[in-house]
Amino acid sequence: MELIPPNTRIDFIGKKKYTMWISAVAILLCLGSIFVHGGLKYGVDFAGGLLIQPKFSKAVNISEVREALETMGLKDAMVQNFGGENEFLIRVEKASGDLGEMSNKIQTSLVERFKDKALEIRRVEVVGPKVGKDLKEKALWAVGLSLLAILIYVAWRFKTVAYGLGGLVALFHDVIITYGAISIFNLEYSLSLLAVILTIVGFSINDTIVIFDRVRENIKKMRKEDIETIFNVSINETLGRTILTSGTVMMVVLILFFFGGPVIHDFTTALIVGLITGTYSTVYIASPVVLFWEKNISGRKRRG
């Protein structure tokens, strides 16, 4: 079976003057959203605080839960529905005080107040502010170092910095867009969303390397063609693979999105965005960066 007829020659690279604007606008929107929201909405994992997820056996109105918390003197507690009608998330962001004791108090008084609606505490998370900060810093270090390693490895394997740089800029693009989506959809940035970011980094670099690999091969074959044509040919030659791979992965993520339940809903939402941008960025971020570098920087040096 053939998905893409052989000798397809779509001028992908030629459209880069339009897509450049699309990317720029998208990045501005994403950064803007993060800025307007005053940074990402950090979950309990990173910000510290406490989260309690009660599930009642009968339907309970959200205002009743709010009222219960208010009578306890917790005015800044946030309550939201989670999944079904009678399941809630209660969140208290508080940097000081004994969080453990507070979580204790909330649980006992909820059990007391909703005696007739037998509730089950499904989840409790209490994270001290220091731990949250630690997690954030360590995660940042780990991710930063891996990105650096990717840059070095790719630059070494492709024998010029341009490819490493192209891959890295594409990764930054994807990470910014995904963080932007997290902000625009008002998702809570937690450890599981950090896992999404890591997954997207893996997927995006994989996609980029596959096309770079074909470019590396074609450069040897098509000595007379200019680099822009070589990129176009390479992208076209691997187009079938790109659609198949991205399509299958997208299919899996969509299934998880629709049937995976509320626990991984945020996770899959961010993943869908990341997959799209990861595929897009190979063609319209990573490749133009390499082209720009080859034409303006290493090209000039050669001539000079």
């Binding site: 499904r122 170092l145 079938g240």
Partner: protein
């Protein structure tokens, strides 16, 4: 070529069978006895986010252990100097590791006591105040302080492990993290709040005398007599939930602590059928208790746990035999938890809970249930799609993908790794890359066939050409994964482990196993056309 086909088959089959054997203990618990002797019976453990349970991160306030050590030295030093008839003015602890004293009398004499009996606290400074009076500051040796802190953390770990063992949790994990943090994982725990109370309690048992002459009214206003402290008895009315606080004025000096306890059990009061905790001291403690009670007949002795007075009975007579009891308005659960913490001993320093994550068993089950269903559905769809699109070659890819998952899981089992939600994300990424590797090879072979190559040449070229892309993308991800593992914490590590193992399995299955299968199809079965 054919013989190499055979040897490759033997090697690959052996690896695959081994991986399946490694996986068996995870899949079923009904394995014959001999099995465990041959194959490591390690299982893949589900993370607390998947199976439910509690994750606690405690910080041992080890500095407090240093403080109380210095506090003890201070009181010993006071006794020693008194005994030697050396007049002491001021004697107090400064900061957490210093003692400040004002001392007079023969300088040589007290200096000798200080340097010979308290070598762990060398003089930091000394200066003459007025005639014959010296102000001396002693500071705890920093190595000594480090050792005390380390011991406190180690002992806290041991004590908490004891408590949890006695509480009864299956497969608890208690590990030291960094220098002063304890990570505790309690899978499938039913009553997390109770476990927290049990673990976090310092459980310092003390016996102190009441100061019956002291003016408690004045003390409540802030005028606490020298050498006394004010503590409370808190009692909760079970009906109204109201808390009553009764103040007690006590002599600061602790006569005895819980370190001499041999046993603590729950017993029932024969009169009121209320549970209480019966204490039994060891030989030294029994004698000490006899001495204390003998010397203080008709006085009131307070039994204090973590600065909370439980009772303060009048000593009727000297009590031999080393037995005592703690009464209070306990229910049976409280009493049995109290007995557990007393038996396991006090924590050398208080602990603070800095992170707690509890996932109720039903939530864990829900995630697993939905996770499994959607994973199976999507895996089936991917497999069907591969067959639909690539025909026989799709079957080859599916076999490789299945083997990939088996190998990854088998390795996870071998390393006793824990599978968490982020871990599954890592697995999904590695499987995605495995699918990609297969697609890369197949697409390349198709291209080669289209250019008119023979089947054998197309296979050769397909693998040869796709190899660099597969290796580069997988190695890049592997390098990133190793760094994530090295520098990341908990969930990031979980992601990295499954990703790295998955990638190694991927290179093996997608490149080598499928190659063998294609070689087998064309060389042994003499297939002339490739169904791709």
């Amino acid at each position: 070529m054919l013989s190499s086909l055979k040897w490759r088959f033997i090697l690959y089959a052996a690896i695959s069978v081994f991986a399946i054997l490694l996986l068996l203990p995870t899949l079923t618990s009904q394995l014959p006895q001999w099995f465990n002797k041959v194959i490591p019976a390690e299982k893949i453990h589900l993370g607390l986010d998947l199976q439910g349970g509690m994750h606690l991160l405690l910080e041992v306030e080890a500095q407090k252990a240093v403080e109380s050590y210095v506090e003890r030295i201070k009181s010993n030093l006071g006794d020693d100097l008194k005994e030697a008839k050396i007049p002491v003015g001021k004697l107090e602890r400064e900061k957490d590791n210093q003692i400040l004293l004002e001392i007079s009398g023969e300088k040589e004499k007290w200096e000798k006591i200080l340097s010979q009996r308290y070598p762990m606290m060398p003089e930091l400074s000394s200066s003459p105040l007025e005639k014959g009076i010296w102000r001396v500051t002693l500071v705890l040796d920093s190595k000594e302080a480090e050792q005390i802190k380390k011991n406190a953390t180690d002992q806290a770990l041991e004590t908490i492990r004891n408590r949890i063992d006695q509480f009864g949790v299956s497969e608890p994990e208690i590990t030291l993290q960094g220098t002063d943090r304890l990570l505790i994982q309690l899978p499938g725990i039913k009553d997390p709040q109770r476990a927290i109370n049990l673990i976090g309690r310092t459980a310092l048992l003390e016996f102190k005398l009441l100061d019956e002459e002291g003016d408690i009214e004045a003390a409540l206003k802030g005028k606490i007599p020298e050498g006394d402290i004010l503590l409370y008895q808190r009692s909760v009315d079970p009906k109204t939930g109201g808390v009553k606080k009764i103040p007690y004025l006590l002599k600061e000096r602790t006569l005895m602590t819980g370190e001499y306890l041999k046993d603590a059990r729950v017993a029932l009061d024969s009169q009121f059928h209320e549970p209480y905790v019966a204490l039994e001291f060891d030989d030294v403690g029994g004698k000490l208790f006899e001495q204390i009670t003998g010397a203080n007949v008709k006085k009131r002795l307070a039994i204090i746990l973590d600065d909370n007075v439980y009772s303060a009975p009048v000593i009727q007579e000297r009590i031999p035999g080393g037995r005592a009891q703690i009464t209070g308005r306990f229910d049976t659960k409280e009493a049995s938890d109290l007995a557990i913490v007393l038996r396991a001993g006090a924590l050398p320093a208080p602990v603070k809970i800095i992170e707690q994550r509890t996932v109720g068993p039903s939530l864990g089950q829900d995630s697993i249930h939905q996770g499994i269903i959607s994973t199976v559905v999507s895996a089936a769809l991917v497999a069907l799609f591969m067959i639909f699109y690539y025909r026989l070659s799709g079957v080859v890819a599916d076999v490789a993908l299945t083997l990939n998952i088996v190998l990854t899981m088998g390795t996870l089992a071998l390393f006793r790794a824990t599978l968490t939600l982020p871990g599954i994300a890592g697995l999904v990424l590695s499987v995605g890359m495995a699918v990609d590797a297969n697609i890369l090879i197949h697409e390349r072979m198709k291209e080669e066939l289209r250019w008119g190559k023979t089947v054998r040449a197309a296979i050769d070229q397909g693998y040869h050409r796709a190899f660099s892309a597969i290796i580069d993308s997988n190695l890049t991800t592997l390098i990133a994964g190793v760094l994530l593992y090295q520098f990341g914490t908990g969930p990031v590590k979980g992601f990295a482990v499954t990703l790295c193992i998955g990638i190694l399995a991927n290179i093996f299955t997608a490149v080598y196993i499928t190659r063998w299968m294609f070689d087998f199809l064309t060389l042994r079965l003499n297939m002339k056309k490739l169904s791709i």
